[in-house]
């Protein structure tokens, strides 16, 4: 499929990083392995490496984000790149021309990489299809479609705790319908060989055709949690509450909010993950979020290492010996 292949060059290496879909297992593992080397750097007093010195990276955020943008920024700075942060209100880019004009302006400033966050599915693909050939695009989240670096940092975190993907049962809980994170996680888990992926939530928030992605739907959280090794919570957008999607926060928390009682159905050593920011008392009980089973803060720091790895690989700056 051309849409997925535009992220690979003729030698099958990453040129852009737009979606997990269509990337083979060895390349995903390569990202994870490469990220390990950057995770080690983060422990050091001097956290910078010169891999992208002289390169300019533009963070183009058409949608508000703190966490993703700051970790991308930190990742770029630790690779010694120059970073340009642009927060562009989506209202200013209602017309496609403006988006293209923005890109052309940045191209003229000799940027080497764009990190894109956009409210519309396919935005990163569109931009990758329009930019000059020397420019690399990393998808920082597009609409409901894809958030590949988030999925990779989640895989990185899972592997730290559960090294063998082929033995795992994973549950993803929450608003799958609107979640780019869930889609990318499902693709990554499938490609890495996880035999059982479950999605748990109300029927209003689980697409009927989710089995086509290789995940099984559970509307009952106790059934869905049974014997899972990894619990991945999704963020629930406030605006979904009190709509035709969900009646109230209380009812959602009662059915799907993660607490001790529901977590007891999972394996005793199951880990709990969340892409953040968390809604305490809606998606997850504070007690669990702060417990040792929660790896939520590890996810954040892994996010920097994984994004460093992806940026360096996409720029073609992997050192020879690690290839």
């Amino acid at each position: 499929m051309t849409g997925n292949n535009i992220q690979l060059d003729t030698k099958g290496r990453l040129k852009h990083f737009l979606t997990i879909e269509g990337i083979d297992r060895s390349l995903l593992l390569e990202i994870l392995d490469y990220a390990e080397s950057f995770a080690a750097i983060e422990e050091r007093a001097v956290k910078k490496v010169p891999l992208l010195r002289g390169k300019t990276i533009a963070n183009l955020f058409f949608e508000p984000s703190t966490r993703t943008r700051t970790t991308f920024e930190l990742a770029a700075k630790r690779l010694s790149a120059d970073v340009l942060n642009l927060n562009i209100l989506s209202s200013a880019t209602k017309k496609g021309e403006t988006l293209l004009d923005t890109l052309q302006t940045l191209e003229a400033m000799h940027c080497d990489m764009f990190v894109i966050r956009h409210a519309n599915s396919g935005a990163a693909h569109f931009i990758a299809s329009q930019v000059a050939p020397h420019i690399h695009v990393i998808n920082g989240g597009d609409g409901r479609h894809s958030h590949p670096t988030q999925a990779m940092l989640d895989m990185f975190t899972i592997r730290k705790h559960k090294p063998d993907f082929s033995k795992l049962k994973v549950a993803i809980i929450g608003d799958v319908l609107h979640s780019r994170v869930a889609r990318s996680e499902i693709h990554a888990l499938n490609i890495l060989g996880v035999p059982e992926i479950r999605v748990i939530g109300p029927k209003t928030l689980i697409p009927d055709t989710i089995d086509g992605l290789g995940a099984h739907a559970y509307y009952d959280i106790n059934d869905g949690m049974k014997d899972v090794d990894v619990v991945m919570m999704l963020r629930l957008q406030r605006e979904r509450m009190r709509s035709a999607m969900l009646p109230s926060e209380q009812e959602y928390f009662k059915r799907y909010g993660l607490n001790e009682k529901k977590l007891a159905f999972a394996k005793p050593d199951a880990i709990v993950m969340h892409p953040g920011p968390i809604n305490r008392g809606i998606e997850i009980d504070s007690h669990i979020a702060d417990s040792e089973r929660s790896v939520i803060l590890q996810q954040v720091s892994h996010g920097i290492a994984v994004r460093m790895a992806v940026m360096a690989m996409v720029m073609g700056s992997r050192s020879k010996e690690t290839q």
Partner: protein, 424 residues
Amino acid sequence: MRLKISNGRIIDPANKLDQKADLFIEAGHVVGIDKSPKGFKVEMEIDASNQIVCPGLVDLCARLREPGQEHKATIASETAAAVTAGITSICCPPDTIPVIDTPAVVELIYRRSLNSNQSRVFPLGALTYRLQSETLAEMDALKAAGCIGVSNAYAPIRNTEVLRRALEYAVTCDITVHLYCEDDFLGNNGVAHEGSVSTRLGLPSIPETAETIAISRVLLLVEQTGARVHFCRISTARSIELLAEAKSRGLDITADVGITHLHLTDMDISSFNTDCYVLPPLRSQRDKEGLRAGLANETINAICSDHQPHESDAKSAPFSMTEPGASTIEMLLPLTLQLVRDNHLSLQQAVAALTSAPAEIAGIDAGKLSIGSPADVCVFDPDASWTVERKFLLSAGKNTPFTSWEMTGKVTHTILDGNIIYKI
């Protein structure tokens, strides 16, 4: 001018004709088939050996973008493209700017099309004032000005009482109502068929029920009001079942399908190809097969281009920020002939779906080669093949999803009112 089209295979579904014969034209009318009328002196002759001669095609829906969106296309540009595709009559929906809800706009369109001197253009008037679905449009005045039907285009009619009264008033005016059926609450600003592709791409989706529920509502109101309703751009297999059932009960309804939906599915958007963003959305393989079967069993009467030319900027943005619609008018005939080659339709059925059936729905004197009919004729080579290339499209809209497709079937002559207005 006296024109003889010799040795062609004449296909004229309105007269159940399929024979190798000569066609004689005089003073803008068909004056003879097979046998030369007495005293007919040939002034011009077209040798149509190995070619098919059929009535000029009638397209039930093409947006010409005039008035109001001349940056996309004009009546002149699109009718010029249409004649190269054998299309001699075009119906255009009322969602121009301003809306076709006054005789003045109707007259403007007629005048522009006469000046262009290409295909005939037949406007559809608005069903409701400004397509706002609140008050009725002046259907009687629109009809008198030359509208061949009324329509609300893509604008939804949420208030069922308004829809009921609009249908009743259309009965009063004896005018056909062309309805595009989508429950826009269920459609919910979606841009793709609700199914595995939209789930994978994370695109806002339009479920099948957005169409089937809207069709069911209209069918029940047709039963109640007796309105003559034409169902536009059917996209789901389930809709075909609903329409077939209603027809079997004797309801006076007709339906059409856009040519794109007979060839593409939601799989075609899977690389976010914005040229495949159309409304109704491209649906599943099963739906595509259902539409083809619906044509074969004549639940669907007509095929239209649903031509929607755009400037390139309109399609250059992330998928859901682009404008819907595809430029298809030049591919209408070959893509229909493809269905014949693939044994989905007989040649007679295919030509009927492009000529006699849409002409009857539009209520215009076209789409047939009876003695005395206006001499609108399409002559095409059924075996000539060509490749779709954007730069060679005559339409101002280059936004076609069929780029680099190989087409078989090429128009060699288009005759309007007995005059050759296009030849290859």
